[in-house]
């Protein structure tokens, strides 16, 4: 990471070695520029955090306080809204359902994508380029197109309202994504490693498990993270395929509209709780997020 110093270094460098008056003036201008550069990310992060803060703020208020007066922080912070969620099975089961199908989907996606990505990164075979492109098109398919046919397909197999149905349906966009990310990481491993392993008498499965997988461990982590993420945030398909037994937490949130009006406090608390898993996993992959979004090609 020694090459990551960037503009800050140029500017100090220019300042130190500024012989000509012209470049000194410019150096000064750049230094003042860089001194205030931190303001941009700060303002941006504030913009990002404000709506989330507002949701958090609301989740700690009573409905009466939310509706009767406008306060920037709760007058009497209460955890009652969270208690509603943690004590009512129809709420916390939504959580368990979401996590179940997300994990199931991540495992399936990464498991089938591993050998395929290896094939794409190491071999040429009949129709490989077309196949790769076809996989990509599935990542680009609008979920709205698939909502209705999915419903009919999974009804025919009797899978409606099961975790497996949602996990399989999310493979539509997660498998291509996992193949792409893993292929990017695998192409970074020199081929000589495979050849040396074969010469040393390793069988393919043994080589793959013992030598190759540890080498691309970070790639597997990133692919798993992205599968987790896209399955976690998707709702249209998940909601179409479930009714009660496998209903995701995000879909349960629509329940807060009742005859007596919106239950804003509980809605906000549920929203805050859906952000927590994302915030937890993001910390582990913070240095690889961009590489994952670039499909392993930065």
């Amino acid at each position: 990471m020694s090459t990551t110093t960037g503009t800050a270094t140029i500017e100090t460098g220019v300042a130190a070695g500024g012989q000509a008056p012209r470049s000194r003036a410019r150096a000064r201008a750049q230094r003042t520029g860089s001194r205030y550069a931190f303001l941009v990310p700060t303002v941006y992060i504030t913009f990002l955090m404000l709506p989330i803060y507002w949701l958090f703020n609301m989740s700690l208020k009573t409905n009466q306080e939310i509706l009767s007066k406008f306060t920037l922080w709760p007058d009497e912070p209460t955890l009652a809204n969270y208690m509603v969620i943690f004590t009512d099975p129809s709420w916390y089961n939504g959580y368990i359902n979401s996590i179940t199908y997300v994990v199931l989907n991540t495992v399936i996606s990464v498991a089938v994508a591993l050998p395929a990505a290896y094939a794409f990164s190491r071999y040429k075979f009949l129709g490989d380029k077309h196949l790769f492109f076809w996989l990509l098109t599935n990542r680009m398919a609008p979920p709205a197109v698939f909502a209705l046919p999915f419903f009919q397909l999974y009804s025919a197999f009797g899978l409606i309202d099961t975790h497996l149905a949602v996990a399989l349906a999310h493979c539509l966009f997660n498998v291509p994504l996992a193949v792409w990310i893993l292929e990017g990481f695998m192409s970074g491993v020199p081929k000589e490693i495979d050849e040396t392993a074969y010469i040393d008498g390793y069988s393919f499965p043994k080589f793959f498990g013992k030598i190759f997988m540890p080498l691309i461990a970070s790639g597997i982590g990133v692919a798993a993270f992205f599968c987790f993420m896209f399955s976690w945030v998707e709702l249209l398909i998940a909601r179409t395929l479930t009714t009660t037994a496998a209903k995701p937490i995000a879909a349960t949130m629509t329940r807060t509209v009742s005859a007596s009006g919106m239950d804003w406090g509980v809605l906000a608390a549920a929203g805050v709780l859906t952000i927590v898993p994302g915030a937890l996993v993001i910390y582990f992959v913070r240095n690889y997020i961009a590489k994952g979004f670039a499909l392993g090609r930065v």
Partner: protein, 295 residues
């Protein structure tokens, strides 16, 4: 890397193939099947040929949704891409600020899409939302459920909030991959800040920017959940994008034929863009190798 020809590699791709065939090909065939038939319930279907397609391509409803969607996608690109580059350039390159920035900026990307909608729905309300309350306090009559302009502004600001970080992260990854030697050379030549950006940073960000532009274009073209939660496509039809219209037709009204025809046209438009994406990206990759070979 030289690849060896090996047709047995097909066996390694087979699991993916079967899975994607089940999740993509079979449903797509159902859609194609419906697109050419009409139904009067009771599972009776009649062949209608290309009638649905003719009807769709002539319908004002589809044109309007398509135009709205294109305007939306291009406004998103015009705002998010320059903003993302600017923020990435200003981000700290080392020290404690880096992980803090990365984690906080990535946070909106992991919020479930309907919760993004809920957050902004609440945030923009004049009675209980921070944004709506303050806008009305300073005299701007802001109400996204009544005023189409306010609804559009809300949907666009929400998307900027949700996805600009993706552009920032990608650009940042491109920026940190620039070797220090490039900057030293620029310093010796007395290059201006603009020249450093134009001739060193921008070319290095080229490939990631391409990915950012195309990912943002395609995802905003498929947008459904967030505007649906905030505005429900309204007021009137002013924020009804293609996906919202499609779901309304397929699941709300259960018009299988027209919905299937629209799905196919919609998918073909996206397919066209993915093809451009794939070709351009591959060419960019080839160019990169070309340059690397020269160095």
């Amino acid at each position: 890397m030289e690849k060896t020809v090996n047709n047995k590699a097909w066996f390694m791709v087979l699991p993916v193939l079967l899975l994607v065939a089940f999740t993509a090909v079979i449903p797509l065939m159902t859609v194609v099947n419906y697109a050419f038939q009409d139904s009067f319930g009771n599972n009776q279907f009649f062949w209608v040929g290309i009638e649905w397609f003719q009807e769709l391509l002539a319908s004002e409803r589809f044109h309007d949704a398509l135009v709205r969607n294109l305007i939306f996608s291009f406004s998103i690109l015009a705002i998010e891409i320059p903003l993302g580059i600017g923020i990435a350039l200003c981000m700290p390159k080392k020290g404690w600020g880096v992980p803090v920035c990365l984690v906080l900026m990535a946070l909106p990307l992991l919020v479930p899409w309907n919760v993004v909608g809920t957050i902004w729905q609440v945030f923009g309300r004049a009675d209980i939302g921070l944004l709506g309350y303050f806008l009305n306090l300073i005299g701007i009559n802001y109400n996204y459920t009544q005023d189409p302009i306010a609804a559009w502004a809300t949907v666009i600001v929400m998307d900027v909030w949700h996805w600009t970080s993706l552009v920032v992260l990608l650009c940042y990854a491109g920026l940190v991959s620039i070797p220090e030697a490039y900057y030293q050379a620029a310093r010796i030549d007395g290059a201006s800040r603009w020249a450093v950006f134009r001739y060193i940073q921008l070319p290095k960000m080229h490939s990631v920017l391409l990915i950012a532009v195309l990912l943002r274009f395609m995802d905003s073209f498929m947008i459904y959940t967030e505007p649906f939660v905030v505005t429900g496509g309204g007021p009137g039809n002013s924020t009804t994008f293609l996906s919202i219209d499609l779901v309304k037709m397929a699941i709300g009204q259960f018009d299988l034929g027209p919905a299937a025809a629209m799905s196919l046209v919609y998918f073909l438009i996206i397919l066209l863009f993915s093809w451009v994406f794939y070709t351009v990206m591959n060419n960019a990759g080839a160019e990169k190798k070309h340059y690397a070979g020269e160095e």
